[in-house]
C-alpha cells in the first residue's frame, strides 16, 4: 500500500508584492515531490516532481485525460495525493475555461470578480466595500471596468476569460492555475490575455498554464509534460523535442508545414 501523500501550505505573503528570494530553494512558489493522484482505486497521474519559482510561467502540456486538471485539483487542495507531497503557498487561484462556469447565471462581471474576495473571508462574512473596490480595480486592470455591470454570460469568450482573471486577482493568489486560457479566443483576445499574463509574471506571480499550444509553450520559462505520468519537466528547449512530444501526445503530434516545428491535433473533448 502506498504512503498517503501530503499537502504543505503556508499563508500567502500579506504584503502582496513578492520579496526577492533569499536562496533558490526559498524562492519556490509551488512544487510536487513524487506525487501520484487517484480517483478511488484508479491512479490517473503518477510520479510528478517539479518546482516552479516565483514569477515563472510554466506550461502544462498533455492530452485530454493526461492529468492536467487532476494536477490542478491537487494543487488547490481539492484532491489529496495518494503518494508524494504537494507544496503550495496558501490557496492557488484558478482560472478555469469559461464554459465551465454557468453562463446562464444572472451575475454581472463585477459579481464574478467579487467572488475572489470570498476566499479571504470566513463563510459567515459577506464581501464589503473594500472588497468591491478591489473587484473594480481588478476589472480595471483587465480592461473591463466599464463593463462591470454587464451580465457575465453576455460577454465574449475573451472578456469572460479576463473577468475570471480579475476574480483570481481579487483573490490575491500568488500562484495562478490557468486551464487552457486561450481556448476559443480570437487573436486580439489572445494577445490581450497573453499581455496580462506577462504582467502578472513580471510582478512575481507564478503561473501554471494548461495548454495544447506547443508553439505558445516555447515562449514560457518551463514546460511540464504529462500523460498519465510525468513525461518531462524543464526549459522549453530541453522538453519540447519530438521524442518528448510523441511520448506526451502519441499520434496526435503533427509536423507543421514550412518547418514550423510540431503541433498537436485539436482535442474534441476535455475531461481530467
Amino acid at each position: 500500500m502506498p504512503d498517503r501523500g501530503a499537502v504543505s501550505r503556508a499563508e500567502p505573503d500579506p504584503a502582496g508584492a513578492p520579496s526577492p528570494p533569499a536562496s533558490p530553494s526559498s524562492d519556490v512558489a509551488v512544487a510536487c515531490e513524487g506525487v501520484s493522484l487517484a480517483y478511488g482505486a484508479r491512479t490517473v497521474l503518477r510520479d510528478v516532481t517539479f518546482a516552479v519559482r516565483r514569477g515563472e510561467r510554466a506550461a502544462v502540456l498533455g492530452p485530454n485525460g493526461g492529468g492536467k486538471t487532476t494536477l490542478f485539483r491537487a494543487l488547490t487542495g481539492e484532491l489529496e495525493p495518494v503518494a508524494g507531497r504537494v507544496i503550495a503557498p496558501g490557496r492557488c487561484g484558478v482560472v478555469p475555461q469559461t464554459e465551465r462556469s454557468r453562463l446562464d447565471f444572472p451575475v454581472s462581471a463585477l459579481d464574478v470578480a467579487l467572488m475572489g474576495a470570498v476566499s479571504r473571508l470566513p463563510w459567515w462574512r459577506r464581501p464589503g466595500r473594500a472588497d468591491r473596490a478591489a473587484a473594480h480595480a481588478a476589472l480595471e486592470r483587465v480592461g473591463l471596468d466599464a463593463m462591470a455591470d454587464e451580465t457575465f454570460g453576455d460577454l465574449s469568450g475573451g472578456q469572460r476569460q479576463r473577468v475570471l482573471l480579475a476574480r483570481a486577482l481579487v483573490q490575491d493568489a500568488r500562484v495562478l492555475l490557468l486551464d487552457e486560457p486561450f481556448s476559443g479566443l480570437d487573436t486580439r483576445s489572445t494577445d490581450l490575455v497573453m499581455g496580462l499574463l506577462d504582467d502578472l509574471a513580471a510582478e512575481g506571480r507564478t503561473l501554471l498554464i494548461a495548454t495544447h499550444d506547443v508553439d505558445q509553450a516555447r515562449a514560457w520559462d518551463l514546460v511540464l509534460c504529462l500523460n498519465g505520468a510525468q513525461v518531462a519537466f524543464g526549459p522549453p528547449e530541453e522538453t519540447l523535442t519530438l521524442p518528448t512530444l510523441e511520448r506526451t501526445y502519441g499520434g496526435a503530434i503533427v509536423e507543421l508545414p514550412g518547418g514550423g516545428g510540431h503541433g498537436v491535433l485539436p482535442p474534441h473533448h476535455h475531461d481530467h
Binding site: V94, P96, R100, F105, P106, S108, M115, W123
Partner: protein
C-alpha cells in the same frame, strides 16, 4: 371596492391564512431561486411527495404534522441515498423508485379502513385550517431559512456559478449542497402545512421560475420571487373566498398563472427587441 378587498380578512380564519401565505411566500420565493439555480426542482418535489407516510402516521397518532413530516423527510432522504448507491441505477431512477414507493405507502396507510385519516388534507393542504401554533412554527422556520440564506449567499453564489473552481475559493460544494438541502427540507416542512405535499412544490419553484424570466440579477430575482409568491398567495385566497374554490389549489393555480404571465412578458420584450 374597498369592501370587496377587505371583506375576506374580517374572518380570523382568512386572516390566519393570509399570514401563512405571506410566510410561505417569503420563504419559498427566496429559497426557490437557489432551487432553480441548483436545478433541485425535481429533488424538492420528490422530497415533498415522499414525506407523505410521515404525515399520515403523525395524523393517525395525533402527533403534530411537522414532527411526522420531519421524520418522513429523514426516511425519504436516507432511502434516496441508499437507493442511489445501487450500481447501474442512476440518481433520478433511484429518486423515482423511492418517491413512488413512499407515496404509495402513505396512500395505503391513509386509506386503510381502520384509519380516520384526512388524506385529501394532507395531499392538498388546508391553508384555511392553520392554527396560531402553525403560524408561529411557519414564521420561525421561515426566519431560520431566510437568515441562513443571507449568511450563505456568497457561498451559494460561488458554488452555483462555478462548482469546479469553488474549492479554490475556499467553498466546498458538498458542504454548500448539504446546507441547501437542509434549508429545502425545512421549507417543505413549513409549506406542507398550508399547501399539502402535492402542491408544496408550486411555492418553491413557480415564483422563482417566474422571477427568472423578468430579472437579470440574483438579488432582484429573489425580491421579485418573494413578491410574486406573496401576491399569488393573496390572489389565491381571494379566489377561494369569492369563487368558493379550494384555497391551496387556488394558490397553486395563481402561482402557475404568474409564471405564464412572466414568460409571456419576456417573449413580448424579446419580440420588440428583435
Amino acid at each position: 371596492m374597498l369592501d370587496w378587498l377587505l371583506d375576506p380578512w374580517s374572518d380570523p380564519i382568512n386572516l390566519r391564512a393570509l399570514v401563512e401565505v405571506v410566510a410561505l411566500g417569503a420563504t419559498g420565493g427566496a429559497l426557490g431561486c437557489w432551487i432553480v439555480f441548483y436545478r433541485l426542482a425535481y429533488s424538492a418535489e420528490s422530497l415533498a411527495h415522499a414525506l407523505l407516510p410521515g404525515l399520515v402516521v403523525a395524523s393517525l397518532a395525533g402527533a403534530p404534522l411537522v414532527v411526522g413530516g420531519a421524520a418522513g423527510l429523514i426516511v425519504a432522504a436516507l432511502a434516496v441515498a441508499v437507493a442511489g448507491r445501487t450500481p447501474a441505477i442512476g440518481h433520478d431512477t433511484a429518486v423515482a423508485v423511492v418517491v413512488t414507493g413512499l407515496l404509495g405507502l402513505g396512500a395505503l396507510l391513509a386509506l386503510s379502513p381502520d384509519t380516520p385519516a384526512r388524506l385529501q388534507e394532507l395531499l392538498f393542504g388546508d391553508v384555511l385550517g392553520v392554527t396560531d401554533a402553525d403560524l408561529v412554527l411557519a414564521a420561525g422556520l421561515g426566519a431560520i431559512v431566510l437568515g441562513a440564506l443571507v449568511v450563505l449567499h456568497p457561498s451559494l453564489l460561488v458554488v452555483g456559478f462555478d462548482r469546479s473552481s469553488a474549492p479554490a475559493l475556499g467553498r466546498a460544494p458538498l458542504v454548500v449542497d448539504v446546507a441547501l438541502g437542509i434549508l429545502v427540507a425545512l421549507a417543505i416542512l413549513v409549506a406542507v402545512q398550508g399547501l399539502g405535499n402535492l402542491l408544496v412544490v408550486a411555492v418553491l419553484v413557480a415564483p422563482a421560475a417566474a422571477a427568472r424570466q423578468v430579472t437579470r440579477r440574483v438579488p432582484t430575482m429573489m425580491a421579485a420571487a418573494v413578491a410574486i409568491a406573496v401576491a399569488a398567495g393573496i390572489a389565491g385566497l381571494y379566489a377561494s373566498f369569492y369563487l368558493d374554490t379550494a384555497a391551496g389549489a387556488s394558490i397553486a393555480a395563481a402561482l402557475v398563472l404568474a409564471y405564464a404571465a412572466a414568460h409571456a412578458a419576456r417573449a413580448v420584450r424579446g419580440a420588440r427587441r428583435a
